[in-house]
Assembly symmetry: C2
Homo-oligomer: 184 residues x 2
DNA sequence: TTGAGCATGTAATTGGTTACATGATTGT
DNA sequence: ACAATCATGTAACCAATTACATGCTCAA
């Protein structure tokens, strides 16, 4: 469960309220680890109970500003260096490929060409963000740029793969015939 | 929710019991869409209620063999061609990168070098599986090979990215200092 | 006769999403 | 006064994981 670590990581930089964290999640972390308002407030409660964060100060409108405790700081470091990252377990796009023998070749080709176009657009968008971040500069952006670069390379790889895949398709249209038929 | 579609896709090839499906999930689908025994039996119940699958025959030990209905077949086709695949939303490894300014350069380098090694091993393993599948042949393996190729390219890209990233690290060790400290 | 493998199901818990509910402050 | 935004919290629901629970069949 990395949500707790995402919160610890943000609080390491500066103390923040649930409301502040939500904005950061939506603006910066949305594409690597989305979280909802509901989740954040719940998790801040859990983190407080387990002593990893603490309410530093209370402000207007019931605002509670959280900060890391020493235990929270240690847990963040432990997670960063000692815990093996879990690769994503599920991939909707790849799951489909397993069943493409159900389609005829022209349907499969249409699908793969669309994947290539979408990946190309994604790549262009990420490059734009990347260049903007670079222009804005600042030493803190180093790791942001490294993260973005992964996205750029992933999009590029996906586009190339989809183009390659559509060339691998059998040239004759051969939708497999069902063995038997029944209406539920 | 793609589990239902994974089940439909497998049942399109041949009728199967929950037990059969579990084996196929563990052997073939584990890396793109894992599912547990519990999930499969529950989902087969839902699919039956909604008329997408039907019990074709019952065998020894209470075995129930499921097959697609016409509605199930239509739903599978609809999903394959009309529904945009959802890209994975969460990436544990990338989330870490956001917080790497908390580490000093040597810790970050160690981490990234390990990523590169792991990705390289992964790539080798997938190439081996790929070559074996190719040798075993059969027209049904076309899409299996396309899926595997994605994995190979992803691993390669990850390795290259991790190597590149470790070169981007600032040369001086500069762990950010905490602004303030408190024990919960 | 016994153990491996076949075969199904339910319960409890966790993590995530959507929706509901409420209210305070601040700038115009 | 009013709207925008700040700010927190809970409830219901869904998907996934782990654990619990039971029993049959077949081959050695």
């Amino acid at each position: 469960m990395s949500l707790r670590h995402a919160i610890l990581g943000l609080l390491y930089r500066r103390p923040a309220s649930g409301y502040d964290l939500l904005k950061t999640f939506n603006e910066s972390l949305a594409h690597v680890w989305p979280a909802t308002q509901s989740q954040l407030y719940t998790e801040l409660g859990h983190l407080t109970s387990s002593g990893l964060v603490v309410v530093r100060s209370e402000g207007p409108r019931g605002r509670k500003e959280y900060g890391l405790t020493e235990a929270g700081d240690a847990e963040l470091h432990h997670w960063l260096v000692d815990v093996e990252p879990e690769p994503p377990r599920r991939n909707d796009a790849l799951l489909r490929m397993f069943f493409f023998d159900r389609l005829d070749t022209s349907e499969a080709r249409t699908y793969l060409e669309k994947r290539a176009v979408v990946a190309g657009r994604q790549q262009a968008a990420l490059i734009a963000v990347s260049e903007q971040t670079e222009r804005d500069g600042g030493p803190l952006s180093t790791y942001g740029l490294i993260t973005l670069e992964f996205g750029v390379r992933l999009a590029e790889m996906t586009r190339e793969w989809a183009e390659w895949a559509s060339e691998q398709l059998p040239t004759i249209s051969r939708p497999e015939t069902r063995q038997d038929e029944e209406t539920g």
